[in-house]
Amino acid sequence: MSKATRLSPTTKIVAYGFLGLWLIMAAFPFIWTLWGSFKVEGDFFSKANWANSLFGTLTITETGGSFTGDGYYGAWVQEEFWRAALNTFIVCVCVVTISLTCGTLGGYALSRSTYRYAFWFLLFALMFRAMPPLTLVSGYLLPFFEWNLWGHLSTTIIVLVAINQPFTLWMLHAFFKNIPKDLDESAMVDGCTRFQAFRHVIIPVMWPGVITTGLFSFLLAYNDFAVTTMLLSKENQTMVPKLVSFLGTTQTKGNVMFAVAAVVSITAPLFVMIIFFQKQIVSGLTAGAVKG
């Protein structure tokens, strides 16, 4: 670390204190959920005393031990949560791939065009993002049923890509702006077409920004509820709507602990992913992915 960024002891204490407080705030609810997912519902959602979820009073009376894997067993084995996990995997991979393919092409063009219409294009993309997704999705239902598109994974993937396209375009456009124009323009002087220049000069240097944008697309597809719940049939359901279906309805009780176990299960792969991609996220952003 360079001298300029070294801190005085007091600043250090303040900074660490603040950071420590934030880390507790950020992680506490999740750690609490993780711990509680091994209890029975009566404990985790105890209306009598919150300490029950620490000590598992009812868990002991109902199951004999102070921890139980019933929630996980119920969700994964009984309710076949793995099918939803598989669907989520397919959706995420496709959404990220298609999103980035379209987004890099479009983002690159937008960053290189000096005409006003490029600005208007970006502006409209932004205004499209302002549309509440609920209204969009309810508008899709009739035509999708009519044309037999409803319920399939592929339809949902395309819709998620489209809804996410404005964000992807803005982010990648800003990123490409930071790649010097001379690079591809000199390639074109050497006789490359625009596409060849893109392929041979830009693609090799664009990965940090693309990975960062891809992670945001991934998170969107992974955590989406509004689109997946309305457009997927039961057997194609992804994890989030499946999880919400554990919560029950007005007239019947659900299996809330299945949902809690599912939340932990959903978040676990993200751990791995963030740890794995953490360097790339930061370096991608550093390369200028988000210069307004």
Partner: protein, 341 residues
């Protein structure tokens, strides 16, 4: 870039957005200008397991003819926008003339669903957006000061609020702030008031929604700023230090100006997302205390009889609201584009 290559490059994105966003927006705008045709109501006898009752019903044959003639419904123009559940021109006008004081007028206005929703939405946006940015910035500064080996786990933990599935994340939090949940009990202890309940009071519910909003979006601002901090020119910082600048002055005159472009981007996305606030209201069952524009849309679409035109009108008003809100940022981008030419 040539027009033709620009065209081919943006074509896939443009097609996707045209089909799945632009076209639906056109149909939503159209929908908001129509209302359903007159329904011919008749009295019928309904029988079932619980006996027979006389009830109203729609005369299908009489209505079918009307439907055939006007498949879109009847032209309503801006009537839906002007009705009591939206801009309520008539009601507002009347309140204006009959109110004895501004306070009285404001009270009547807040009793109208649209103005009630816009009041919450704007307050939420105005408070959550800057605080998210400030928090994100402070966390980024903090993480940047941590020893390199510790940064990985710190970044991961800081990102948690953003990556946990919002619906159930909010459900768990909602239970935790219950008067008998761990956070609720903690708050009671802090406030030294055993009857304190976040869920029972409107101001506390607003505060909780906003705290949740900041908590869940601060990681986004954090990660963007953190990346930005990596590119601050250390030479400039050192030069500033040699010139005798204090730490605060270095942040103020070197770091912050460097981060301004990032702030524009975060502000743009956050303003838009906060203006469309919806999920926390559902997850926290907060609709008795706080309603937003997006919640109004959800309410229109979620009932047994769906109010498509009403939802469409509210959606259009939301887009207009976002456009107004973002206009300062957009003007800036427009100028930047001018420079790039």
């Amino acid at each position: 870039m040539k027009h033709s290559s620009f065209f081919w490059f943006v074509l896939p994105s443009a097609l996707l957005m045209l089909t799945f966003i632009a076209f639906p927006i056109v149909s939503v705008v159209t929908q908001s200008l129509y209302q359903e045709h007159e329904q011919v109501i008749i009295e019928v006898e309904n029988c079932g397991p619980f006996g027979c009752t006389v009830s109203e019903s729609v005369d299908q044959e009489a209505t079918a003819a009307l439907r055939e003639a006007q498949p879109l419904g009847q032209w309503a123009g801006l009537e839906i926008y002007k009705d009591r559940n939206h801009l309520a021109f008539a009601e507002v006008g009347e309140a204006w003339t009959s109110s004895v004081s501004m306070r009285d007028f404001a009270g009547t206005l807040m009793n109208l669903p649209f103005y009630d929703a816009i009041a919450f939405t704007l307050t939420y946006t105005a408070i959550v957006t800057p605080l998210t940015i400030i928090f994100g910035f402070l966390i980024a500064i903090g993480v940047n000061a941590v020893a390199r080996a510790m940064r990985g786990p710190t970044i991961f933990l800081s990102l948690l609020p953003m990556i946990v599935t919002p619906i159930v994340g909010a459900l768990v939090l909602f239970w935790m702030v219950d008067a008998r949940g761990v956070l609720g009990a903690g708050l009671q202890w802090l406030a030294d008031d055993p009857n304190l309940s976040v869920k029972a009071s409107t101001p506390l519910m607003w505060i909780m929604l906003m705290v949740y909003g900041i908590w869940s979006s601060a990681p986004f601002a954090f990660i963007v700023y953190y990346a930005g901090l990596q590119t601050v020119n250390t030479d400039t910082l050192e030069a500033a230090m040699i010139d005798g600048a204090t730490r605060w002055q270095r942040i103020r005159y070197v770091v912050i100006p460097h981060l301004v472009p990032l702030t524009t981007f975060i502000a743009l996305i956050q303003l838009m997302d906060n203006f469309r606030v919806f999920e926390p209201i559902v997850s926290f069952s907060a609709q008795a205390h706080a309603r937003s524009l997006s919640f109004a849309i959800f309410n229109d679409l979620g009932g047994e009889t769906r109010l498509l035109s009403s939802a469409a009108a509210t959606s259009v008003l939301t887009i207009i609201g976002v456009a107004i809100l973002l206009s300062p940022v957009l003007v800036r981008t427009w100028r930047d584009f001018g420079k790039a030419r």
